[in-house]
């Protein structure tokens, strides 16, 4: 199979290019791991969004709501299980985090089901209304979060087992970031396997290319779409939970804030492409961390610059999806 490796090469190129600028190898390793962790968390949140766009031409501007809900639900569960969270046993810690993450995914997924039904379905095919209504959904959801959890931010602290860093000589790697990288890679592998090795994945890939023809072959694409939407929402919830634990605070605005990064990532990757989303997320995460170290004042501007450069190179994003 012929593959387009060029975008993928950007990641090592960026890493190597940053090394001389940063100077100290120890800082470079720390920043690189931080960038990968951030990138993979964003990837988790963005993957569902890019797939629903590819599949049904629906872009949910309210995607951030699922991220925020995930963060809040996970925070609530972890606060309820506080004794386990603070216990000095990694197993008890994980016994608190596991259910918290699961609850975040379930609640976000269920919310996604409702959101698809009430907000998205009535405006299929009408882009302008879609943007407006899903933005409206985000506004309402953000307010409801404040109704339920109160307007103030919730402070979380990571359990002992996930605090601190692994030390290799003078290189420090934060434990939580390693976990984030592992979870992110697992999600990516699961998605890649599903898309490439299963019939369901074939259907999704075919649907992204030409949904109408998939229907003409006798498949009910709307169900497929609802399924992808729900899974995407659940993943956003997972990402939100991880992000909240990473920042150690949760606010209702978290959704809208992270959603901006998510949008940048899926634009860079090429709307509809999961592989592009992966590469884009890593690029964004790495750039943000490198620039954050080199020139902290322009850190977020760096993402825009990255986006502009990539769009100048490939106007449809790194991996444009073949369309109709």
């Amino acid at each position: 199979m012929k593959r387009d490796w060029l975008p993928l090469l950007l990641i090592p190129a960026l890493m190597i290019g940053a090394l001389p600028l940063i100077g100290s190898p120890a800082s470079w390793v720390t920043l690189t791991v931080a960038g990968l962790a951030m990138g993979l968390m964003i990837f988790i949140m963005a993957s569902g969004l890019t797939l629903t766009f590819g599949l049904m031409d629906v872009l949910n501007f309210g995607h951030g709501a699922f991220i925020a809900v995930g963060a809040f639900v996970a925070a609530s569960v972890m606060l309820a299980l506080a004794p386990w969270m603070t216990a000095d046993s990694i197993w008890l810690n994980l016994a608190a985090i596991g259910p918290a993450v699961l609850a975040a995914m379930v609640v976000s997924g269920v919310l996604g089901l409702g959101f698809e039904r009430v907000i998205v379905r009535p405006v299929y095919g009408q882009h302008l209304k879609q943007i407006l209504v899903t933005t409206g959904g985000l506004i309402v959801a953000e307010q409801l979060l404040k109704v339920i959890w109160g307007p103030d931010q919730i402070t979380l602290s990571r359990p002992a087992a996930l605090r601190g860093a692994f030390l290799f000589g003078d290189i420090a790697i934060e434990k939580y970031r390693v976990l984030a990288v592992v979870v992110g890679l697992v999600v990516f592998a699961a998605l890649a396997l599903t898309l490439n090795r299963t019939r369901l994945g074939l259907l999704i890939r075919a649907g992204v290319e030409n949904g109408e023809m998939v229907e003409a072959l006798g498949y009910r694409i709307r169900r497929l779409f609802v399924g992808v939407f729900v899974v995407g929402s659940a993943l956003a919830g997972l990402g939100g939970a991880m992000w909240g634990l990473y920042q150690e605070t949760v606010t209702a605005a978290i959704g809208a804030q992270v959603a901006v990064l998510v949008f940048i990532v899926i634009i860079i990757g090429g709307l509809g492409s999961v592989g592009g989303c992966f590469v884009g997320a890593l690029l964004v995460g790495l750039t943000a961390n490198y620039i954050g170290f080199l020139a902290p004042k322009v850190a977020l501007g760096s993402n825009i610059l990255l986006m502009a450069m990539i769009l100048l190179w490939r106007p449809q994003g790194l991996y444009p999806v073949a369309k109709r």
Partner: protein, 240 residues
């Protein structure tokens, strides 16, 4: 022979444009009906309306005695109707194999049937694991047809199968369609190439300006050059 498919007074609008104004014709079971007509007469729209990809604003479409006018596209397909659009609409990101796996809805493709398809469209075997986007135009057309016939279907709707094909491949296509017909499939084929249509068709329906202007046997139509001239205009034979 009874009609497997029948259209009565079918009207279709695309946006503000009225494309079909009362299409009526029958497709006999087990036969090959050619749907002919000038460019813009409404042939493609008719096929898409049968598939439910455009909605009929009025009229009735019956398949095997059942009203399918308001069914959704996947449900229409599940009754045993396959569609090959003019654009071919193959999935370029998927390999040839994956395209066919997807088209075989009820399970892995049947080995014997696959062999038969390979015997007619040899290129598909050769490029089995290549993403379909890399196929040539003619090979894409073969894949599109193969996708429709990978499992037995009762009715095949095929839009311009010979468009852009080399004569040798057209000959294979003719053989394939004949064998399908023998295998109890019914075909409705839109065609511009009258030589091809005349060789293969049992019956003919000719569209003009969103209506069926003539329906009858292919033999009689092929013999009546005046009628051909009137309905299809000049240059039908020279088209491709």
């Amino acid at each position: 022979m009874t009609a497997l498919l029948s259209l009565r007074g079918v009207q279709t609008n695309i946006g503000r444009y009225h494309i079909l104004h009362g299409v009526e014709f029958d497709v006999a079971e087990g036969g090959l009906t050619m749907l002919l007509g000038r460019n813009g007469a409404g042939k493609t729209t008719t096929l898409r309306t049968i598939m439910g990809m455009w909605r009929a604003a009025a009229g009735e479409i019956r398949f095997d005695g059942r009203d399918i006018t308001h069914l959704a596209t996947p449900d229409i397909a599940r009754l045993g109707i396959a569609y090959v659009p003019e654009s071919m609409a193959i999935f370029a990101d998927l390999t040839v194999q994956e395209n066919l796996i997807l088209a075989a809805r009820s399970g892995p493709p049947d080995a014997k049937r696959l062999d038969w398809i390979f015997s007619r469209f040899e290129a598909l075997k050769r490029f089995w694991t290549l993403p379909a986007g890399f196929l040539s135009g003619g090979q894409k057309q073969m894949l599109a047809v193969a996708r429709a016939i990978i499992e037995p279907r009762r009715l095949l709707l095929i839009d311009e199968p010979t468009k852009g094909l080399a004569p040798a491949i057209i000959a294979n296509m003719i053989d394939a369609f004949r064998e399908l017909k023998d295998g109890q499939s019914t075909l409705l084929v839109v065609e511009q190439n009258f030589a091809f249509a005349r060789q293969l068709g049992d019956a003919v329906a000719v569209m003009d300006d969103g209506k069926v202007a003539h329906q009858g046997g292919m033999a009689a139509f092929a013999a009546d050059s005046g009628l051909q001239q009137h309905l299809l205009g000049l240059g039908m034979d020279t088209h491709q």
